[in-house]
């Protein structure tokens, strides 16, 4: 598996460069917005990738709640963190597109606000994982992740249910785009999905290493404990070892 990583990384880098070329050179220029519309090829695939990662986070959180599987918990942490990165890209590129097209950076429109709320929910998820020492943290985080995932369909379908300034969704929105734009959009989504998969892979390895370090620290504290000091109890109560601060 370790040998596959550099090969996949090289292929993803080539795909990202190709997708960038497609977005900047090959895709036709939109009639009314001009070149600024090309932000769409980074903005939309980043949003779809974030939604996909939050969906995986939901599945992993449910699996953790049902089976208490630490690997599912690790997958949940990893996908939430990488999902927040992609959601940040969405929240940054959106206003950069809006400024020349709408004349404003931000408006408290339902689509924009619900996306910001989604980002805040997952940031709070990560803050909970980072700063809570309780052994119950993974359970609380899994429940929070389920509530966070409920916001994803609200973000996507908000355009159908409410009057909004945001353009209609590309899938199921009733509008139509040039087939060449579709092609470029899908290439960029594929490139960003491969990139997200590689980041998740690296982050999962980091999470495994972090848990190894915590186990080693717990063992060390058991060995270094002065007579009468109950280090085993410390591990059992989640102050050290595998359950401690599962960031």
């Amino acid at each position: 598996m370790k040998r596959a990583f550099p090969i996949l990384a090289a292929l993803t880098a080539i795909l990202l460069v190709y997708a960038l070329y497609q977005a900047l050179v090959v895709a036709p220029t939109e009639r009314t917005m001009g070149d600024v519309q090309r932000i769409f090829y980074y903005h939309v695939p980043s949003a779809w990738t974030a939604f996909l990662l939050f969906f995986v986070n939901l599945v992993a959180s449910v699996v953790y709640l049902v089976r208490r599987n630490p690997k599912a918990d690790a997958v949940a942490v990893v996908t939430a963190e990488v999902g927040v990165v992609f959601c940040t890209v969405v929240l940054v590129t959106g206003p950069i597109w809006a400024r020349p097209v709408w004349g404003i950076w931000w408006t408290w429109d339902v689509r924009l606000t619900s996306t910001l709320v989604l980002w805040l929910i997952y940031v709070s998820y990560l803050v909970l994982r980072r700063f809570s020492d309780s052994a119950q943290t993974p359970v609380l985080a899994a429940v929070l992740a389920i509530f966070g995932a409920l916001d994803v369909p609200l973000v996507y379908f908000s355009i159908w249910f409410f009057r909004t300034q945001h353009p209609q969704p590309v899938i199921g929105g009733g509008g139509s785009i040039d087939p060449r734009m579709w092609h470029v959009l899908l290439i960029n989504w594929l490139a960003f999905s491969c990139f997200a998969f590689l980041i998740c892979w690296s982050r999962y390895r980091l999470e495994s290493l972090r848990r190894d370090v915590e186990e080693a620290e717990a063992l060390e504290s058991l060995l270094d404990a002065p007579p009468g000091h109950d280090a085993k109890a410390k591990v059992a109560h989640g102050e050290a070892g595998f359950n401690r601060r599962p960031q």
Binding site: L20, D35, Y42, V89, V92, I96, P100, R205, L206, V213
Partner: protein, 42 residues
């Protein structure tokens, strides 16, 4: 012409965000490896 600047700003911002995150992963990884080596030396 002005809109081109916004286009480049969006693309550069995207890669800066990813680069910053990848940098944070590398820093965390090195810190953990160092900590693991310290523990194994004891």
């Amino acid at each position: 012409m002005k809109s081109i600047r916004f286009l480049y700003a969006a693309y550069v911002a995207t890669w800066l965000i990813h680069a910053f995150y990848l940098g944070s992963l590398v820093r965390r990884y090195n810190r953990l490896r160092q900590r693991l080596m310290e523990i194994s030396k004891k």
